[in-house]
């Protein structure tokens, strides 16, 4: 094994560790900030760690339609998100470059959504199935947005390599190309949907369908799902930052990681504010909204192809 491969693997592992450590912290920040917006004191910052630990120590009731599939869905979802973590740049550039390219990243992200759907299907109660249904609909209309954003980047840099695409590639062609700016806008307004927070947490709406697909899960399985949810927040923020806010690298790895995480934190703050001040949309409204965005992004794609 060459030294380069070892560095890549080490970099990927470092990413996984960062995500595992930082994800609950970001969630804690989110909850604390939400509380302060609502004039409350709020939970301690490390509350999500407590929650996860407690869930790990609880009894695991296997009650759904097919327990093996439920177990599989949990591990699949967790594994997929951790693999994604290997591929996303925290710091200077994407570490596990030779493992996969942008397309693999997109597949893996889709796999996360599919795992959630599987979880809902395996649980098999009415509300889980409704949640699964909604998850599927949003997956199908939402995921293309990310694809288009990445593809625009890839067009600009003429490559699908991770380290080239996930480094502000959308602006690569000529300063600030129109397509990149349009995609920035589109991704900004749809970011809430990717991380599945209010107003787009339709598939997991607590007051409507009681966390939908996750309703039947308890104990360690729920802990893993919650972890995945928290990790999604970090990873999508990291992706967004890598694609659209690539500036401010120093070249020093630890410092770069901190800078990157700080940028992610800013994204989380934005997510918090939007989540705190919005009412949940209905599925059809959300789908209509995604479709509009998809239309705009396709136009952006066309512009990118012609070099704008």
């Amino acid at each position: 094994m060459s030294g380069k491969a070892i560095i890549e693997i080490l970099g990927g592992l470092a990413n996984v560790v960062i995500v595992l450590i930082v994800a609950p912290f970001f969630e804690g920040v989110l909850r604390k900030l939400t509380a302060r917006i609502q004039s409350r004191q709020g939970p301690p910052l490390w509350q999500p760690y407590y929650d996860l630990l407690k869930l790990l120590g609880k009894e695991d009731i296997e009650s759904g339609e097919s327990p093996p599939m439920q177990r599989f869905a949990v591990y699949l979802s967790f594994a997929a998100i951790m693999t994604v973590a290997c591929l996303v740049p925290f710091g200077s550039h994407a570490p596990a470059n030779s493992i996969g390219d942008v397309l693999v990243l997109i597949y893996l992200l889709t796999l996360c959504g599919i795992a959630t759907m599987l979880a809902g299907l395996a649980a098999g109660s009415t509300y889980s199935l409704i949640g699964m249904n909604r998850e599927m609909m949003s997956l199908i209309t939402l995921e293309p947005l990310l694809v288009v954003a990445m593809v625009i980047g890839a067009i600009h840099v003429h490559s699908f390599r991770l380290d080239q695409v996930l480094a502000g590639s959308v602006y690569a062609a000529a300063g600030f190309p129109w397509s990149g700016l349009i995609m920035l806008g589109v991704m900004l307004v749809s970011f809430q949907a990717f991380v599945q927070r209010v107003p787009f947490d339709i598939a997991e709406a607590e007051t409507e369908i009681m966390e939908g697909p996750l309703m039947e899960y308890s104990g360690p399985k729920l802990a893993l799902f919650k972890y995945v949810q928290m990790a999604k927040l970090v990873i999508y923020s990291a992706l967004f930052v890598a694609l659209f806010i690539p500036w401010g690298h120093t070249g020093l790895y630890p410092l770069d990681v901190l800078i990157h995480l700080a940028k992610c934190l800013v994204m989380v703050l934005g997510v918090t504010w939007v989540a705190a001040t919005h009412a949940r949309y209905r599925m059809d409204q959300a789908i209509r909204f995604y479709a509009l965005l998809l239309g705009i992004s396709v136009i952006a794609l066309g512009m990118a192809v012609y070099g704008y």
Binding site: T34, I37, Q38, S39, R40, S63, E65, L121, G124, S125, T126, Y127, L129, I130, M132, N133, M136, M137, I140, V198, P199, D201, I202, A205, E206, T207, E208, M210, M215, E216, A276, T277, H278, A279, R280, Y281, R282, M283, D284, Q285
Partner: protein, 558 residues
């Protein structure tokens, strides 16, 4: 239309079928009619005289007159008259003509006396069990006088399941409740859903039926019942408390001292304030808007503290006794209340202004759960639900009680009839309530709080009282009796009527709108159920098979 005119018209129309009419004064009318003509008289009153249906009451009168009693209550809102059409039933088992076909709003009330008293409404379109628990055997009726309050019949079977109707063709069934995060109280809806569209529902509620009426008729005494009445509902408890006290006072021809009336008015409005703020919070919580939920609860909290200072408890004020109130206002309390009101008014005005332009919130509420004035009339919807549909009814103005005839206020009406206009109506009513309290504080006369009552209240007299609860009109009916307790006490809570409008409201709507539509009537199941959806979501109730669902999901996506 004044009372004597109504009697004249009834006499013209029905002649000897009108047996007797009592006019105890101050806007009450009791007409005893022949049971055979009851149905046509009800239709005449409801359709031709354009009265509003209030409720139907069954009573076991056998120990006193060897017959059962059925009363249909109507309200003439323009003239401020509450009218009761009573009839005695001698048959065994007792039978009465159902009026549900003519007056759709009477549906539940008739099913209720069928359950609890065994009075059979002949020709009822949907004679299904409503109130009693699933395992209760047929033919046993807890509200009859020969049955003790704690009597559980022999054939009680805990495991019996409720027989739900068959869902319509092509629809899947989604159980909603009894424990659901948007429902504070147990109730069970079976939604018939086609895709994400709700096509219909069946309600199996009355899960909080605690037998309060039976308790009041057989165990508690006149002055204990206010405390029980208050616990009919934890949010609008004071309303029931006052309504009960007023019904008894009216039956016994007692007039409470004016200071007591003003204090009742203030506490009722204080309750309306906190209830409306609470509703706005809960409605926002249902659509996932937690900041506004927290905000309105924060604004509401000083009101709760104020209530605690005045009455000693945050919710259950234990305010009324027969002939007066228990808690007085001191000068300090008055000043403090003024300050709290000022603060609430300022903050709430800012919130209302901010929310008025909130497109995001409007998206979830505009055009959702629409009610038309026809539906309001037919199903007997009341309170903010009716007012939001443009029907101008308000018991405070139409049937003035306590000190409402001495204060000025505006009845807020909306136009849309949807959730958004209900929200606006409630938000505006907060300001009116504040205005009423201020006027009361200003005008409150000095004087005693409580009357010295005679040893025994008159026996066999009837009284009814309508009080405008935050959710609509709460109606209490009392027949006074021996042993220092009423012979019959019937409560009609506002949600009892409003809930009957839900199937029409949620029909052909998105599943996601179901919760907010239901929330928008400010449902209070405990009120409704006083004295009854049965599947917990974790229990596996896949009514249709999983393949079907998968198939459905696939069809949806492709």
């Amino acid at each position: 239309m004044p009372a004597h005119k109504i009697i004249e018209r009834l006499k013209d129309q029905f002649g000897v079928a009108i047996q007797r009419a009592d006019l105890p004064g101050n806007g009450r009318l009791f007409v005893f009619v022949d049971s055979a003509a009851l149905k046509s008289i009800c239709r005449f009153v409801f359709r031709d005289l354009d009265a509003r249906y209030v409720t139907s009451i069954g009573s076991d009168d056998r120990p006193y007159s060897d017959s059962f009693l059925v009363a249909h209550h109507f309200a003439f809102d323009r003239t401020g008259l509450l009218c009761s059409l009573l009839t005695h039933l001698t048959g065994n088992p007792p039978k009465v003509d159902s009026i549900s076909k003519e007056v759709p709003a009477a549906n539940w009330a008739e099913r209720e006396f069928r359950d609890l008293l065994g009075i059979e409404p002949v020709g009822h379109p949907y004679p299904k069990r409503l109130v009693l628990p699933d395992g209760w055997p047929e033919g046993k009726h807890p509200l009859r006088k020969d049955v003790a309050w704690n009597y559980v019949p022999e054939g009680y079977d805990e495991d019996r399941e409720f027989a739900f109707d068959e869902p319509p063709e092509g629809c899947m069934v989604i159980p909603f409740g009894p424990f659901h995060p948007t429902l504070d109280e147990p109730a069970h809806f079976r939604l018939y859903v086609e895709g994400e569209m709700v096509r219909g529902c069946e309600y199996r509620g009355f899960m909080a039926h605690r037998g309060i009426e039976k308790l009041g008729e057989s165990v508690l005494t006149y002055n204990e019942i206010p405390m029980a009445a208050e616990r009919i509902c934890g949010i609008c408890g004071c309303v029931h408390n006052v309504a009960y006290a007023q019904a008894v006072e009216q039956a016994a021809a007692i007039k409470p001292p004016p200071r007591a009336e003003y204090i009742r008015t203030i506490m009722l409005e204080l309750e309306r304030l906190h209830s409306h703020l609470l509703w706005v919070g809960l409605a926002c919580h249902i659509v996932g808007f937690d900041t506004l939920f927290m905000l309105s609860f924060r604004i509401r909290e000083p009101l709760m503290w104020m209530a605690e200072k005045i009455s000693g408890n945050r919710k259950t004020y234990a305010l009324c006794l027969i002939g007066g109130v228990r808690w007085d206002f001191t000068a300090e309390l008055k000043a403090e209340l003024q300050q709290v009101l000022l603060k609430v008014e300022q903050e709430w005005r800012a919130v209302v202004e901010a929310v008025a332009g909130d497109r995001n919130l409007q998206k979830r509420t505009l055009g959702i759960g629409v009610t038309s004035p026809e539906l309001v009339k037919n199903v007997g919807l009341i309170g903010p639900v009716a007012r939001a549909a443009g029907v101008d009814i308000d018991c405070r103005r139409d049937h003035p009680y306590a000190a409402y005839d001495r204060v000025e206020f505006k009845v807020i009406t909306g136009t849309g009839g949807d959730v958004w206009s209900r929200l606006l109506v409630r938000a505006q009513e907060v300001f009116e309530s504040i205005r009423i309290i201020r006027q009361c504080l200003e005008k409150m006369p000095e004087g005693p709080l409580q009357l010295q009552l005679p040893d025994e209240l008159p026996i066999g007299r009837m009284g009814m009282s309508s009080v405008e609860a935050p959710r609509g009109e709460a109606h209490h009916f009392v027949i006074t009796g021996e042993n220092n307790r009423p012979r019959r006490w019937r409560v009609r809570a506002p949600t009892y009527q409003n809930l009957q409008g839900i199937p029409a409201m949620i029909k052909d709507q998105q599943l996601a709108d179901m919760t907010i539509s239901l929330g928008s009537i400010d449902p209070c199941f405990s009120c409704t159920d006083r004295m009854e959806i049965v599947d917990i979501r974790s229990g596996k109730t896949t009514v249709y098979t999983q393949e079907e669902l998968r198939e459905m999901a696939r069809r949806k996506v492709l």
